[in-house]
Amino acid sequence: MLITCPYCGPRDVIEFTYQGDGNRERPQPASQNLDAWNAYVYNRLNPAGDHNEIWQHSGGCRAHLRVVRNTLTHEVSSVAFARGDHKSAARHKAEGKP
């Protein structure tokens, strides 16, 4: 399996560390909603097909990547920096998150 790191180019999967389901939404830091925390910490999607995942290029540039991987074929259909275009940064600010 190859992942094409936006910095480093196509690299073998042994250079990467799987960092979990990329669909998880972390509740607001101060949230006391235990169900939401529970879902975030413990629940993972397990789709047969395309899956949003976080991978770290731990043996390379160390960047975390959002990877869409097909769990049946290991085909990687998209790779992007997890930091993205700072949309999530804007979202955090808009929602008044610390």
Binding site: L34, I54, Q56, S58, R62, A63, H64, A82, P98
Partner: protein, 997 residues
């Protein structure tokens, strides 16, 4: 000349004689021979004994699919079992032995197994040995009684116990086009792709390129096909962009068009050349793949089809045409298709008599009738072979009229004398790699075969692999596939012209002749047609169940010759067409792969060693080094005659009495920098860091998202936006990844950069009542008194001309300082400290004394922060800020994490003056014979010089409430039992007066 060797012909070198032994007997072969061809040439018919019944077996095939003729090859003490004799190239001194026979191949005691055939029928493992309901052998005892004998009788080769002395290698390769298989299709594909400028790898599992061209007897472009193939391979050798890999089996097709291959580099040599490995494991990433893997001929299923002398038709053709060997002198043929007639002609030309051609089909085309006339054989159409005769070699066959519409036999049985019977049951394309890739094969009723599925990755099929069995088709498809794989379109030259024997590629749909006697489907696992029907009667009708119940197709040949006949028999039993019974998906490896090649260079101690800057000094000064993760750290600096305990007690005592110094360079160190660094630390630590003044350090605790304790350490504020975080040695990598994850994924808006600087700093911790005096004696550029350097303060100065950073913090509980310098100056600063400490009685101490002093102080480490404990369990709840959320704050107060009955950190004092042991359990009352419930376990232990007692830290159920009570150690494994007192984990100087000084 050997009895079965032809005078001329074949691709062996009759002038080069090679001597080898089989079962101790000496034989002679020629360069170009396999072990199978050389033994056949010597008149050997018996190659092995079958798996369950110990029936005599000969050689069935001429290639990688061989199920019968498995041998063990010996090289010195090293034995390699279960190698197909058809794949062993002989060399001078080759020593091979047969398998699964006792005491000898020709006289085998266990052959009596076949008399008890019922006992060993399908599923025998599961049912025969339930045993009688009563008596000494009731139930499974009977099985245990029998197992000993059956395990000995059933089996394959014996693995060796001598260490493998061979070297194995790994190789990564990249190409535009990988061509698997080098028959006419593969050669054409490789050439076409190479002419387009593509980087091409051509792999061939046999020693010679050319595949069927080497033995087909056909003519291509006016020359013998074998010569055409040799010329084509020779031309490819001249291309810079082509890599040829002979003796290389592509055995796995993985995602990303990644393929695994095994190259047998020196198995065919008496000894490896300089630097040559035995095998080479290739990982090949190919932009496109051309699968030109050909097809396997299928046996027919009829009674006695396993007798030595019964062989696949095209195997015999190959022995004659490629090796100049006649597998028999009076040869009969049994077929359901046209392709076998070509073989009869080849053997006739090589000098054998063809005594009969038995064909299940009532009508033959005029072309095929002419071929039959040409070989002057008795032509028995609408007939079938119903029995074979002979012992360790075939003596004759019995034939009967056969109606292929209903499978009925009629009329008298006729005997025909023959010493060899060739059979052909049609062809199965070698679709293994395509099947591994995931798609389902499609049944083709005309070809009576599963054809390759549609490609799910970038591969293109060509030749017999696709069900196009003629050489002309292979050549055309091969060139088209090569062009397409290389992205080319043009078709420049005319295709090579093939002259071949005529024939219809479609066989008659006949797989089995039902007559009395054992008819083998899976030769290697001794599965008969009756076993398949028994499985059906007992309800094991899915292909997957059939496989497991009968073990059909589960031997080392993975059913290459048996799968389709097995499915056909099951389909008939079910009354369903074959495609509805289905086929199993092939899995890697295609054929056996040496364990050595999988490990290759990656065996032995593979861990990199991490050495601190002062490592050489420690070793030179008597340290016993200890491996802690990847690091090597001094355990003790022992004196002559000291035990470990004596050494660390001396070191710890001296530290508390005067001063001690320890190398702490292994601590994880992370630079946390940026405008939001303080905010970030507030989020990742349970306590506040934004309030920390520049020039001060603070002890911090991190939790995981689930609220359990994660890691602890001090973080130093070097500047407004500049922190130096320290972590435990063991968790340095994990903490770094944790921080990076949150900065990248969760809080990308934070302007913080984290950098691992563990290797950039050398660290020495110096502690004890004289520590400050020692620093005062050697540090310049700063004062180190209490005003300049208060507890948790940081100063910058120089030691022996080198810039150092000193923080006053304590792990030992003494007045202590950590002195950091650039890693390159670590030894220089260390030596200066040692020198300055001499008048003060400074000692070096190792991990044991470090651990002892931390246990005395009750500090936690990874043994207590074990992934199951909370901050409260460790009495660190004072560090949980209520003013802010932090990682883990939401989850840390869940019911189960604050409920009574949790394991809490306590101290233990041995009341029986014996050492306590890590991992030992703690019970409320002692009863050695009948252990009580554990209430906890010891995490760390030592002899405490400060207390003069054996002490330990432990995690004990409701530990805090048990302080002042007694319990017992129960350690049956080490046979240690005894009373302990449960106390606070702060054994020594609980109010910290020594370190605050």
């Amino acid at each position: 000349m050997s009895p079965r060797r032809t005078d001329a012909g074949g691709r062996i070198d009759r002038l080069r004689t090679i001597r080898f032994t089989f079962d101790g007997a000496p034989y002679i072969g020629h360069a170009g021979d396999t072990l199978a061809s050389a033994l056949l040439a010597n008149g050997v018919t018996l190659f092995g004994r079958s798996f369950k019944y110990h029936r005599p077996r000969g050689v069935l095939t001429s290639g990688v699919e061989e199920p019968n003729a498995l041998v063990t090859v010996l090289r010195g003490e090293v034995r390699e079992p279960n190698i197909a004799a058809t794949m062993v190239e002989i060399y001078d001194g080759l020593t091979a032995v047969s398998q699964n026979r006792f005491p000898s191949l020709s006289w085998d005691l266990s052959a009596a197994n076949q008399l008890g055939g019922k006992l060993l029928s399908a599923g025998f493992y599961y049912k025969t040995f339930m045993g009688p309901a009563i008596g000494p052998l009731k139930g499974t005892r009977f099985w245990m009684f029998c197992e000993h004998f059956i395990r000995r009788a059933a089996g394959l080769g014996r693995a060796g116990i001598a260490a493998d002395t061979a070297r194995y290698e790994r190789m990564n390769a990249f190409c535009d086009v990988l061509v698997v298989g080098s028959g006419p299709a593969g050669l054409m594909a490789a050439r076409a792709a190479a002419d387009q400028g593509a980087r091409v790898i051509l792999s061939e599992l046999e020693p010679h390129f050319g595949g069927s061209a080497n033995w087909s007897g056909e003519t291509i472009d006016g020359m013998p096909a074998a010569d055409w193939a040799a010329r084509a391979a020779g031309q490819l050798e001249g291309y810079d962009n082509v890599r040829l890999l002979p003796r290389t089996t592509v055995w796995g097709y993985y995602d990303g068009n990644t393929l695994a291959a095994l190259e047998r580099v020196t198995d065919h040599k008496e000894r490896p050349g300089k630097g040559e490995p035995r095998h080479r494991y290739w990982t090949i990433r190919a932009k496109s793949v051309v699968l030109a893997t050909g097809s396997f001929e299928r046996p027919l299923v009829f009674p006695g089809n396993d007798r030595p002398g019964v062989m696949l038709a095209h195997a015999a053709e190959r022995y004659a045409n490629e090796y100049g060997v006649l597998p028999g002198n009076r040869i009969a043929l049994f077929t359901n298709n046209d392709s076998a007639y070509r073989c009869a002609l080849a053997l006739k030309k090589a000098g054998a008599a063809i005594v009969a051609i038995v064909d299940v089909r009532p009508e033959l085309s005029s072309e095929i009738r002419e071929l039959a006339d040409e070989v002057e054989a008795k032509n028995l159409s609408a007939h079938a072979v119903v029995a074979t005769e002979g012992g360790k070699a075939l003596a004759g066959i019995k034939v009967q009229r056969f109606d292929m519409v209903n499978g009925a036999l009629a009329g008298d049985r006729r005997s025909i004398q023959a010493d060899c019977l060739l059979m052909s049951g049609g062809w199965s394309p070698t679709i293994h790699l395509a099947s591994q890739d995931g798609a389902k094969a499609e049944w083709n009723a005309a070809r009576q075969a599963f054809l390759p599925p549609n490609a799910t990755q970038r591969w293109i099929g060509a030749g017999a692999f696709t069900g196009s069995f003629s050489t002309a088709e292979a050549i055309a498809e091969g060139r088209a596939a090569g062009l397409s794989a290389a992205g080319g379109t043009g078709t420049p030259a005319a295709l090579p012209v093939v002259e071949a024997a005529p024939g219809d590629p479609d066989p008659a749909p006949v797989f089995e002749i039902k007559a009395d006697g054992k008819s083998f489907v899976d030769f290697q696992h001794d599965v008969t047609a009756e076993d398949v029907r028994l499985a059906h009667r007992e309800g094991f009708i899915s292909v997957e169940h059939l496989k497991r119940y009968t073990t059909l197709g589960m031997a080392t040949d993975q059913g290459k010759s048996s799968n389709i006949p097995g499915h056909a028999i099951m389909a008939e039993a079910l009354g369903k067409p074959i495609p509805e019974v289905g086929t199993t998906r092939f899995r890697p490896p295609f054929s056996a792969v040496s364990i050595g090649s999988l490990a290759a260079e990656r065996f032995g101690d593979l861990r990199p060693e991490r050495l601190t800057p002062m490592h050489d000094w420690h070793v030179a000064n008597g340290a016993t080094m200890y491996s802690a993760g990847l690091w090597y750290r001094p355990m003790i600096y022992g004196h002559a005659g000291e035990t470990i305990e004596q050494a660390y007690v001396r070191e710890a005592k001296a530290t508390r009495e005067s001063a001690g110094i320890v190398d702490v360079s292994t601590l994880g160190k992370i630079a946390v920098q940026g405008p939001d660094a303080a905010e970030f630390l507030d989020r990742v630590y349970t306590n506040m860091f934004s309030t920390l003044a520049v020039g001060k350090a603070r002890y911090g605790l991190m939790l995981r998202e689930d609220g359990l304790a994660f890691d602890d350490g001090t973080t130093w504020r070097l500047g407004e936006q500049d922190f130096l975080m320290t972590t435990t040695t063991a968790n340095a990598g994990k903490v770094m990844q944790h921080l990076e994850y949150f900065l990248d994924v969760i809080w990308p808006e934070l302007k913080v950069h984290v950098t691992s600087v563990t290797d950039q700093w050398a660290g020495a911790a110096i502690g004890g009542p004289k520590a400050r005096a020692i620093l005062a004696a050697c540090v310049t550029g700063t004062a180190v008194d209490n005003a300049a350097l208060p507890f948790m303060g940081i100063v910058h100065g120089k030691i022996s001309g080198v810039s150092v950073m000193i923080c006053r913090l304590s792990f030992s509980g003494e007045m202590a300082f950590e002195v950091y310098s650039g890693a390159g100056y670590g030894t220089h600063v260390w030596e200066a400290l040692i020198e300055a400490g001499k008048p003060f009685g400074l000692v070096t101490y190792g991990l044991e004394a470090l651990g002892t002093m931390r246990i005395e102080k009750g500090h936690v480490t990874g043994a207590e922060i074990d992934g199951r404990t909370t901050a409260r369990d460790l009495h660190l709840d004072w560090m949980l800020s209520k003013k802010k959320p932090f990682i883990g704050s939401a989850m840390m107060d869940r019911e189960g994490l604050i409920a009574p009955g949790r394991l809490e950190l306590v101290g233990l004092i041995s009341l029986y003056n014996q050492p306590l042991n890590g991992g030992a359990h703690i019970v409320e009352a002692l009863d050695e014979a009948n252990p009580h419930d554990s209430i906890g376990h010891i995490t760390a232990c030592c002899y405490s010089p400060a207390l003069g007692k054996y002490i330990a830290l432990a995690l004990v159920k409701d530990g805090k409430a048990r302080r002042g009570t007694r319990a017992h150690i129960s350690d049956p494994l080490r046979n240690r039992f005894g009373p302990v007192e449960i106390v606070s984990n702060h054994f020594f100087d609980p109010d910290g007066s020594r370190m605050h000084g």
